[in-house]
Symmetry: D2
Subunit: 339 residues, 4 copies
Amino acid sequence: MIVIFKKDAPQEAVEALCQQFEAQGLKIHNSMGQHTHLVGLIGDTSTVDVDLVLANAAVEEVKRVSEPYKKANRKFHPEDTVVHVGNAAFGAGHFSVMAGPCSVESEQQIEAVAKSVQKSGAALLRGGAFKPRTSPYAFQGLRADGLVLLRHARSVTGLPIVTEIMNPEHIPLFEDVDLIQVGARNMQNFELLKELGKLKTPILLKRGLANTLEEFLMSAEYIMAGGNENVILCERGIRTFEPSMRNTLDISAVPMLKQKTHLPVVVDPSHAAGIAWMVRPLAMAAIAAGADGLMIEVHNDPPHAKSDGAQSLTPEQFDRLMADIRHTAEFFGRTIHAS
Amino acid sequence: MIVIFKKDAPQEAVEALCQQFEAQGLKIHNSMGQHTHLVGLIGDTSTVDVDLVLANAAVEEVKRVSEPYKKANRKFHPEDTVVHVGNAAFGAGHFSVMAGPCSVESEQQIEAVAKSVQKSGAALLRGGAFKPRTSPYAFQGLRADGLVLLRHARSVTGLPIVTEIMNPEHIPLFEDVDLIQVGARNMQNFELLKELGKLKTPILLKRGLANTLEEFLMSAEYIMAGGNENVILCERGIRTFEPSMRNTLDISAVPMLKQKTHLPVVVDPSHAAGIAWMVRPLAMAAIAAGADGLMIEVHNDPPHAKSDGAQSLTPEQFDRLMADIRHTAEFFGRTIHAS
Amino acid sequence: MIVIFKKDAPQEAVEALCQQFEAQGLKIHNSMGQHTHLVGLIGDTSTVDVDLVLANAAVEEVKRVSEPYKKANRKFHPEDTVVHVGNAAFGAGHFSVMAGPCSVESEQQIEAVAKSVQKSGAALLRGGAFKPRTSPYAFQGLRADGLVLLRHARSVTGLPIVTEIMNPEHIPLFEDVDLIQVGARNMQNFELLKELGKLKTPILLKRGLANTLEEFLMSAEYIMAGGNENVILCERGIRTFEPSMRNTLDISAVPMLKQKTHLPVVVDPSHAAGIAWMVRPLAMAAIAAGADGLMIEVHNDPPHAKSDGAQSLTPEQFDRLMADIRHTAEFFGRTIHAS
Amino acid sequence: MIVIFKKDAPQEAVEALCQQFEAQGLKIHNSMGQHTHLVGLIGDTSTVDVDLVLANAAVEEVKRVSEPYKKANRKFHPEDTVVHVGNAAFGAGHFSVMAGPCSVESEQQIEAVAKSVQKSGAALLRGGAFKPRTSPYAFQGLRADGLVLLRHARSVTGLPIVTEIMNPEHIPLFEDVDLIQVGARNMQNFELLKELGKLKTPILLKRGLANTLEEFLMSAEYIMAGGNENVILCERGIRTFEPSMRNTLDISAVPMLKQKTHLPVVVDPSHAAGIAWMVRPLAMAAIAAGADGLMIEVHNDPPHAKSDGAQSLTPEQFDRLMADIRHTAEFFGRTIHAS
């Protein structure tokens, strides 16, 4: 960490602050420039609160040099982490596809979609029971009943299930869910992250719509700091100025995350654009850029879906896409897992 | 709502969709353009799911004409809502200032700050007990103990208190809090909003860092739809590309929100920039733009604050600022409330 | 185009505006909703000025239904346009790579890089003579002398050249340049676009850092409206909140642009991230998403480059990448062109 | 400037780079951290090219400590600069209002508006002759004829004129313009900035829609580096995710710019929101935040304006607003100038 002092900072204030740092076990390196006096702090600066240092009237600026995340940091854990969920695996060349409807709507629907995506080669069944909706007047999901239906579909097909949690109070309901999803709007719901850190279940953490990669990794760090190191990161599109798509897939996030962390990184091309015909090119790009898996929305009857129909593929479309995904993943050296 | 069909949409598909709309009680107005066929939907379209309509293969685009929020909408409630919290009041010309530390740290600290801001003219005491922090390794607040200390400061000064809730499980702890704050990162924590909608306590809802004003109002609508119509909106800075400040105050949000909704709108200039010296010009701008109140961080010892020291004023700085706020609010025709 | 009137708009004002539209040859379709009165305008609305209509006190909102671009619009020109530059071709399955240094620095440098990238399989030589630099104190390019050196490298290798123009006054200097580039910062330099519309030389138009796809296509329309329909669009990264990369590659822009327009779309992975090691994954993603070509920075000695060294590949790195590009482009069904 | 080396950077590479820095006259301060080796560079680093340093394989990151602008930097020029244009003055407490139509349309129009805004108290007449329009099919301004009409309005009223230049080739036409405006889309048209740096005429530089304050100041630096130090900065709204307004006024830019530079800062509330009724609250906020002037669009007949009618005030509205501006500017201690 580097602390830059103001041009006219009183010498005593500088010295007092440096003594504080030393009291925290940090070493101080002074650098006097033409117009600038700065000090480098040597040691474990992850607990130094940048805001506090900035509050000192003598300080002009503070720059972090080392990342504030540790458990998620590839520097301290160079090998790829592989997260296993049933027969599915993510990371270190292992590639799996999660597929299913945005919302669980009925036993018949989820069972039909589950059988279909399994046949096409998906390794997990996705389906929303608790749905975050912008409007209080929109369908909010079948909630606990939806989880029952997902378990039913799992018992029929053997596919492990992934579904979203929105409330720490619901954790008991998610006890035997195979992979618990944290949605984009809850990426910084720190109370929820802390509770999930106490579980053993793997977590699929989606990136917030306007969050930096460091913030994303700090949210993973929240879960990992609690003891749960089975975290899969999911890039699902960021908010930009472009109105023709719901969000903009940040494909660069895939290689950059994989450079910064050992955790697996998957892509959700369905939410990224919100448009069914764009799922294919974005899925191909995700594989080419190094993703460890994909999450794709499939609905038996998109125009009558209860949510997000615009981005859902039909089972037939998914079947054709899945063939190409397999082919492309192999071309790029990935081992694909099915159920 | 306007539905635009694809150039080559089959006539049967168009008719089938129109029949669906009519079955929902909507009337259809057809418009055939040179290159475009569109229909206008007349009636209550707030429950039409745009995504579903977009999922129809015949549809090219859907445009909402009327706002999806009702209870928060000024069109259906032209007069300003006034929210009262103790002696404080917000809206319809009533102006109040909330002040206090980012985090409650000790009995001595919160009592001293409370007495000081009260003397300067604040109408509410703010103080964080549960703190949303980006890093799991940063100070997370005194939590339940912090609430005890806030109540103590209230009993000493008589100042009503405002503090942030992060978890629906904590609602019992907030029972006698005077004004419950929902932080920017939880603006779309819909599970929390729903629970707060069941309370009678007024809610201070902060705008998310990258949310539109419509999303902001839809979150207010979540609370109001549950029956709690005492919502104060708080603009606290949005994320932009500018690195010299933590966030960028969206001053335009003040007049635009007040045109769209009858709810009071306050501004938090401390979080907006994250820099103590900027609080004054931003506070002045907020009053000039029509804000119904301000929320300002004051700490007895900013360089030793446990969070956000960089943006905190000292009690002396706040006292001087408060004099100017009073003077300026009067100049702009506001009635200022103190405890 | 749809015009939505205010709830309380006086009938005479509405009628007067509608008569104005009819006088412009447009037909009017009325729709009276519960809370809304709107009219649809049928006919060629591309010359209707949205701002003017909004200025009418009776009007609440105006929504465009059809795109404001014509010549670039795929609706009126369904087949892909192929742009040929020497032996290179872009579009309709034709794929070419442009490679070379950010800046032309010396005869020796540009000749060496040209020979090297040609050997590796590039179809065009890129090199900046006029350089847009944020700082007036940074190297501004060799300017006219740089163009002389590029021509020299072309005469030695036969590679067509692509280089950036920044000033309409310089057009005579660019007379025999094979492909003239408009940089991101000049995407809305309308005076320059108009002048380039009068030429026959193909134009490589880069997307601005914060521009929408519609604005991008409107800038292409400026060139095409002048008579020059040989425009290649280049996605080169947009500005986002992510600080770990210079820009963020908008991979979704590739399929979305190709759906909206018949013009070829290429990707510049070097500028998109500004980091040499990211060029490979982003180049792969671009091919997978459907790009018609790539523009890649190659420098004989990146650490001593006069600009943008951080993102340049060495000739050896480019040679290995080019082999993979060829392989991947073939996998995705593209025909690759070399010089 | 601080250079952070990679964890495993070879010692020879580090030393070689340090020798390069020393050869440029810089002094080196070494800091060896636990996981990091960094050096501080002492001396004039404004000519060090960050990209080049980053291109070195041994380097992980580079952080600037001192600002890259000099002539615009308040550190080296602590007193406010006052820019005089006729009787108008901007800076150091001097406050002036520029008003007039978006586009000059006819002799009658510009003369009528000029007389009217002069009577209301404007100090300069604004009017666009060369208009940057997103669409090639929209009205492009009267161009050279518009300048003739502006001069005519000046001769009738004595009001100095401000109008936008878009092309270095047009400089001869702008010879006797009193204040030359560079529009937001040309903020980084460096060729144009360089040419304007050779003039003596004051320049009104508008901030680009997605540019940082440092980029804004670097563009001012381009003009100042050429010898023309009479630059007025204009904040006119930035692009954000909010669709209900054209742009979002960045009110924080006013105090932040004034802290970083000695140049005057004005605000254009008309373009900031693009909505006539928002001009008043934003103008008030601008004065409260410390602006040195305002630029406001006034049109004799907004619904028939040839551009930007939606944001124009009528002369009567401007007259009432101008009274409040005067009153408010005085309240905030500014000296207001009229013609």
